[in-house]
Structure formats: C-alpha cells, structure tokens
Symmetry: C2
Subunit: 317 residues, 2 copies
C-alpha cells in the first residue's frame, strides 16, 4: 500500500527545513537549506517543491498536503507579511506558491504557532488547555493557546509577544520600532547584549572573538566556563524576559510557558532565572502557578510536527 | 404565569448594583449600595439576598439564579481573591454565600469579563469573535474574547491587563507592585495625575478643589472648559493607555477594543487620542486594523447584563 505523508516546513530566520511526517507524527526524512540561499520566495518554493516531489516519487509516498510555519505567517491568508527577519519584503503568498507547485493543499501559520501545536500534540503541552509557547531563535516568536485553541486573532496575526515593548526607547528592532522584547530576549538579543558590553570594555573570555561571530552558543560555552560576563548576560536576558512574561501571564493566565529554539538550549542558565524574575514580577494571584518549561521535542521537530499537524488535523476533522 | 428572572450583580470598587434581568436582557429593577457600607462580604450577601428575595416575592418573579461580576473574580471557584480595590482581604467565596442565602445557583466572574459578555450579547461587540473589553473605573479591568470565547485561563484569572507594567518603577499600585497600567489609566489614575501636577504648581481651574475631591468627572468638566492641565491629563492618560493597548494587540490581535466605565464617559477626550497613540506604537501588521470603541450599553448595564448572562447562558445550553 502507498504510504500517506504530510510535509511540514519550518521557515526560520536562518534555515528552512522540510520534514516528511506520518500520521503518527514520525519524521521520516528532512530537507534543509539556508534561507539566504533564496533571493525570492518563488525560488524557495521551486527548489523545495521539486525536492518534495522527487522524494515522494522515489519512496512511493502519497503527499496529502503541506503545512508551513513561518515568521509573520498569516493563517487566514496563507501569507507571510512584512517579516522583519526574512530576506523578502512585503506580502508573500507562500501557501499558494507551494499549493500550485506541488498540486496539493497548503496551510501556513506563524512558526511559533506551529511549534505550539506540535508541542500540544506531541510534546510538553500534551493535555494542556492554556499555555504559552515562546521560541527563542533569531527573533522571539510566540504561540498562545487558550481554551484548548490556538489564538489566531481577528486577522490571523495574534501572538507577537516578541514585539511587545520591553524597554521603552530601547534597542532598535528589525520591525522599525524600539525596545521590542526580541531585541533582548532571543539568540540575537543576547549576542547584542554581550557585544555592547565588550565594546564598553568589560572583561570576558569572549573579547577575542570578532563581534559578528559572537552568538548565543559561544556565550553558552563561556557561561559553562563560569565567564562572568556570559553569566551576567544570561541573567540580564532572563530578567527582561521574566518581566515580560509576568505581563504575558496577566493576559491569558497560562498553566505553563514552554521555551523552545536556539537560546532555550542554554536551559540550565535560563529556566530557573526566568522563573525567578517572572515570579518576582507576577501579580499576587498568579504567583507559584505558572511553570517555565523547556520543549520536550528535539530542536526543529516541534515546528515541523506542528506545521504538519495543520494538515493532519484537517483530515482527522 | 410567573415571570422568570436572573439577578446580575456588579461589584465595583465604589458601588454594588444588583439588577433583575429577563431572558430578553431587560433590566426590570435595580438595587444599589456603596461597597464601603459592608464591613464583611457576609453582610453584603445578607443585605442583598434579603432584598432580592423580598423583591422577587413582591413581584411574583421566579429567581433562576444569580450571576456576579467582581474584581479579581474567579470563575472556576466562585471566589473573589486578593482584590486590591475592595475593602475585604483574602479569598472570599461570594458565589457560595449568595447560593446559600438565596437557595439558588450563583456564578461569579471578573467584573470586566462580565462586561465583555454583556457587550458581546447585547452591545458593541455583537457578532465579534475577537475583542478586548477595557473597563476604566476605580481600576482598569479587562475581558479578553478570542475565537468567540472568553479567556478564563488555567486558574480562572486571565485578563488582568490593568496589572501589566506601563511605567517601570512607576506609581505604587494597590496590588503592591509599581507602575501598573491602572495607576495611570483609570478614573483614579487620571485624578492622581492631576493632583501630582497641581502639587508641582501647575496652573488649572482645578487648583482650588481639595486634592481628595478631584475626580475624573471634575477633570472632564475642566477639559470641557478648555482647561490646559485637564486636557493635558487626558492626553497623558491616552498616551500611556495607547502604548499599553499596542502591546495588548500583539497578544490576541482583536478586531476592536471596547472602552467602558467612569473614565470612558469622557469619550470625546479619550477615544481619538487613544487610537492615535495606539496606532503610533502598533507593529506594522496591526496598523489600521483595530478600532477603539465606546461601550454601546448604558453605564453599569453591561456589567449587570453580562453577570446575568452567565446564568441565562447556562439555561440556554
């Protein structure tokens, strides 16, 4: 019998990954490309579509549809709109491009929303009806689940916690405003913090690395060596994120906040401190009720499984 | 035939109002008492229950249940918990008190949640699936509707936008923290602003009024006379609220934000300015999409109708 599969595509600020996912949530194979490889979204859709069709044919798989998670993804329109962390401007009808190229159903949503669905079905949020997904990658993405449903909002764009203002008149953000949470609390944000402090002459094992090569992983390694500046950077990041999450709790009062993505891998330096600073700033009625957790899915699987489940859910309903 | 009615009770920071509501949403009669009249919540439940039973008997009405809207109201437990703007401390099982005294069903929720339900069924939010209700009274309350459902959160306490931090290390709040939105954007908040500016020696027609007598209505009257300080106070309040609402939009992306309560009555000085400052601070993708509106229900009716609809909805389901 021919095997039915769904392709889940995760479009991040750095990489694009497509996974071939069974109805049981098993990822059989993946395709990776750096996002900067594609000058236009049409080129991305062309390359991936050709490879998807090739892989399906080779394995005798029947393609049931394509689910896409992307920054600033609009669920209702299937578009990516004004994404500050992607190389393409304006409104991009990516679901339509894939649907046409692959002659199949394509559904698109915010990458963090896709991660939230993946986590709800296969990961740390199994059985939860109210939780917040925070992805700490190139930017800070968020997916909000309340009453057991993902919140898309009136226009399909709900859940941009990374673009709430964390520091008034703070750092310039890719979105054109200042002080957005993601300019501090993301893999890119913590690197900006460290570079700024090094430029101010603060001591660190990181000071011999060129500024453009400092990233969250190098800061994590320095923190493992007890580098004071690196440890202070995690504390500073956790403080800003904890304060913002205390505000976030006042909106939807979630059972848990699940962290995911590049920066979340530095779990040991982050989770406890974020929990501490969030608790410090929580309104009395919320204290001690909201658990900060790490994703229970291997990195990038949550987004792929979430994107794929957009399609599988459609067939199950 | 005996007429069936539901009592909707609105517990505000200043007044408690009970309304006798028909299934068509008509308020047949109301009972009012200042909240400070009741040293304990038991006394409040006793007084209102006796009057409710008396009025029902006199009119041959059958009491089908009591719905209560209260600050820090917990829908799941029927309790008021640690409400900073009420005279009673701790956890108060008010739904249980009313259920016992009146021998009927009693359901309790956040007063702003009750207002949101009232607005959704009878008012400005008819037919909307995603909107935000903001009550500008003694404090700032909020009710969030997403996917057509009120968000209660994991613990029943979702929707405390008044206790998100608007100004870091700002004004002391009744909740024990600093800079909460409601210390600026509420009837009490704008009075604090004006008193502070008068103490700094700024000129105004309000300067001859004792500080404790300055309230949002007197500031509104002064603004009608083009008093510069009063106009500036509305602008300042609108700026802080607009900034915070721009953040709020990034959570649930509502179709509209509906303003209600004492301060919202100064609509002409507030709505346009709040819309302006919100737009200024919105992320690109939300610009021009979210309408600031005034409640379309007479003051206090929304809360009573919303509280009553908690019960009527139960019978309809």
């Amino acid at each position: 019998m021919l095997k039915e599969i769904v392709v889940g595509i995760d479009i991040g600020g750095t990489n694009v990954v497509a996974g071939f996912v069974t109805i049981e949530g098993k990822i059989l194979q993946t395709i990776h490309h750096p996002v900067k490889q594609f000058e236009t979204p049409e080129l991305l859709a062309n390359t991936f579509s050709e490879e998807i069709i090739f892989v399906c044919k080779k394995n005798n798989w029947v393609l049931k549809g394509i689910g896409i998670g992307a920054p600033n993804g609009n669920y209702f329109n299937g578009t990516i709109e004004f994404a500050p962390n992607l190389p393409w401007r304006g409104i991009i009808p990516l679901a339509q491009l894939f649907a046409t190229k692959c002659n199949t159903t394509a559904i698109l949503t915010n990458d963090a929303n896709a991660a939230a669905i993946g986590e709800m079905i296969f990961g740390a949020a199994k059985g939860m009806k109210d939780f917040l997904m925070i992805t700490l990658g190139t930017g800070l993405g968020s997916g909000i689940v309340a009453n057991g449903e993902l919140i898309y909002g009136h226009d399909g764009f709900a859940g941009e916690v990374g673009h709430t203002i964390a520091v008034k008149n703070g750092r310039a953000c890719g979105c054109g405003r200042k002080g957005c949470l993601e300019t501090y609390a993301s893999a890119t944000g913590i690197a900006k913090t460290v570079v700024q402090w090094l430029n101010e002459g603060q001591e660190s094992v990181l000071k011999n690395i060129p500024a453009e090569k400092i990233n969250s992983y190098k800061i994590y390694e320095a923190a493992l060596q007890q580098d004071k500046l690196a440890l202070k950077a995690f504390r500073f990041t956790a403080e800003i994120l904890g304060e913002s999450l205390a505000n976030a709790v006042a909106y939807t009062s979630p059972q848990a906040i699940i962290l995911f993505g590049g920066l979340a891998n530095a779990g040991e330096f982050l989770v406890q401190q974020i929990q501490f600073f969030m608790e410090e700033n929580l309104l009395q009625i919320y204290k001690g009720k909201v658990k900060i957790m790490l994703s229970q899915l291997p990195e990038s699987d949550a987004a792929i499984l979430g994107a794929a489940s957009l399609i599988w859910k459609k067939f199950k309903n």
